[in-house]
Subunit: 440 residues, 2 copies
Amino acid sequence: MKMLRTDFKNMLRDSVGRHGLSPAELQRLGRRAERCLAELKEERAKGRCPFLNLPYQKETAGEIKRIDRELRSWVKDFVVLGIGGSALGNIALHQALNPPYIGGHESPRIHVIDTIDPDLFDGLLKSLDLRHTAFNVISKSGTTVETVAQFLIVRERLKDSLGSTYPRHIITTTDPEDGDLRRLAEREGYRRLFIPKGVGGRYSVLSPVGLLSAAVSGINIDELLAGAAGMDKRCQKEAMEENPAMLGACLQYLSYKRGRHITVIMPYSSALEAVGEWFCQLWAESLGKKSSLKGKVIHCGPTPVRAVGPTDQHSQLQLYMEGPFDKIITFVAVERFKAQVEIPQSPEANFQYLSGHTLAGLMAAERRGTELALAEAGRPSYTIYLPELSAFYVGGLLYMFQVQTALAGKLFGINPFDQPGVEAGKAHTSTLLGKDKGTL
Amino acid sequence: MKMLRTDFKNMLRDSVGRHGLSPAELQRLGRRAERCLAELKEERAKGRCPFLNLPYQKETAGEIKRIDRELRSWVKDFVVLGIGGSALGNIALHQALNPPYIGGHESPRIHVIDTIDPDLFDGLLKSLDLRHTAFNVISKSGTTVETVAQFLIVRERLKDSLGSTYPRHIITTTDPEDGDLRRLAEREGYRRLFIPKGVGGRYSVLSPVGLLSAAVSGINIDELLAGAAGMDKRCQKEAMEENPAMLGACLQYLSYKRGRHITVIMPYSSALEAVGEWFCQLWAESLGKKSSLKGKVIHCGPTPVRAVGPTDQHSQLQLYMEGPFDKIITFVAVERFKAQVEIPQSPEANFQYLSGHTLAGLMAAERRGTELALAEAGRPSYTIYLPELSAFYVGGLLYMFQVQTALAGKLFGINPFDQPGVEAGKAHTSTLLGKDKGTL
């Protein structure tokens, strides 16, 4: 069976000259990374890092499939209300694994509404037939202001148009014990799903947070979890060349330490654009930290940038080729697309060089051309090859990125699971809304 | 009449402490920027920088409106085939100015296909009824490999299903004199639109490149151009406080020189996300340059990052608050949304702080809370206020960003109109495709 693999020769000095890494320094860091991996395993054994065990939730998967079967008998539109970690994974899975145009797709339409933009929300509500719409309200804490606002509006509209049957249209996904939304859901009799204790938003895509909308959209969640479980095995190996998460963490960490503070993720696949967006949250929120675990002020954190090939060859590539030596690029290549799309013979002499090629082949040639040109310009990059866009491989890819992030957190010496920096903005917003005064 | 305005107090030391700019250095740079503006005016008078005159193309606008009237009698789907500067402006206008959900929208559906992803392209073609579809093939050079490949596929499908009437379904937008595609279009009798000489892709949104799909999608292109013309007047003023393009160029340039190599554009509006994407091309491709105009190797270029509020408060904000002091943020605020969307009273005590607010008000409170928190953490930002999302103001915003980019190019001492760095990748791709050998 084919596997996800990483080609990192263009990260090394042999390919990119002085801006590259030396095999020796990579090997040295590998020994530190082995210790980080050992720590992670210990923490896992003690019940910490529960996101690592998400691939093995047989019961939860069964429950989600039951809910899905019931929903698809009457639901035409399935709306996820959530933001950040309660939305990005859902969007990533849906975009990666479902057809880009609706024709012939039998499942409900999926809408992931990760904003309170009034024009967007108003437009959405006007476009829905509420009798055939279900809402999945996702908030770990049950107090996320955007999600609560969305929920209050939707609940009123449902009550107004459906009367007492409205609870059937809401499924909440929350912490199993805490939170205002959880209590409310229990009281009003909604269906409820729970996020395992200790699984944070950006590590929750393989929990009920991501699984319900995935199942409803037609994704095989058993395959998704099987791919993640397979990747779990690989991410426990101590040899860097067998463990793609450890390899990625080391390449990224070393590059940052050598002044490449920007990390671009650039899939050559439109379907993986949102995986890039999801990765940007995972990486930025996990590693962007003021303080080290030892309490030292370090203000660390790579800035992730999402690009997509070949589109961004016509947008960002000029900067990547000629700008400051402050970035590395992670390409994600899909080895086999579902469609090939032949480019027909053309009577025009100047276009004949395309004859006999396919769009899939052209994509690959453009990616390889870009990799080569960047390497020649001294710009490091590496490529993750995904055999195909199936639930199995995408599940593995997401799991790999999560383990890579946890390991990178250890290399950076920070806590990759908290986000203390976002509280100040929330406090100001609350004051502006008059929450503290209980008025306005 | 309300106008676009910029609030930059959070860029200054008084607000953000030592990471801010001093009014004195801004004033000093202002004098240099005045000279840059004078140069730009001279170049314009000599017929260079023709993008500056795009707001005044009465004849072109008339022609586009005629084509639009004819098309909307039979077209249900309007597909733009283009990439980079031939796509991003189209997407930006469409997303900014048309309703996010189709219900009640009388115009043809717009698809801007800026990729050759085979799964996406195959899905699109299968979803279309070609009898009611028009394709706008946009390529300045007429040789862009992605666009030519798209065109060859589409032309064959059209011929196969429609026979000799197929040329009615294609409109090309190209250079008026050069290029394979232009010649082919003339020979086969397609409708043709032309990009004024000297207008490069990323400065072409207000040329026929952006205007045709805008008109077809229902946008008032006269208003769009009027807004740009109004902004042209403001961007000719010498006083920084009256000229938002000059102010933006100075804030960005000074920040870069002080080590903030990343510039985030973060509209608090889902409709403006693609304007952010468009800006990222404009800024990266214009300013990311190896060599100065004097031939010195400088490897300069800020890295633009596109974020959106409030969504990215739950994704990127942690990094912006606590990570390295290597970035500034440009917020774009919409002062009046079309919808307000009231948040209803809630019987739950913990949610009552939201009662009486609207989603529009919550958006504003979240933006202001984020601005304040960033300033307190010593993180510079500034906010562009757009009175509303109308063609007039969006036309002005895009024009302003273009002038800002041209002025920033002068401050950086580079050519903001070329993109020499992307040729190497194209050459490698051609070789891989066997173009040079004329085989494969």
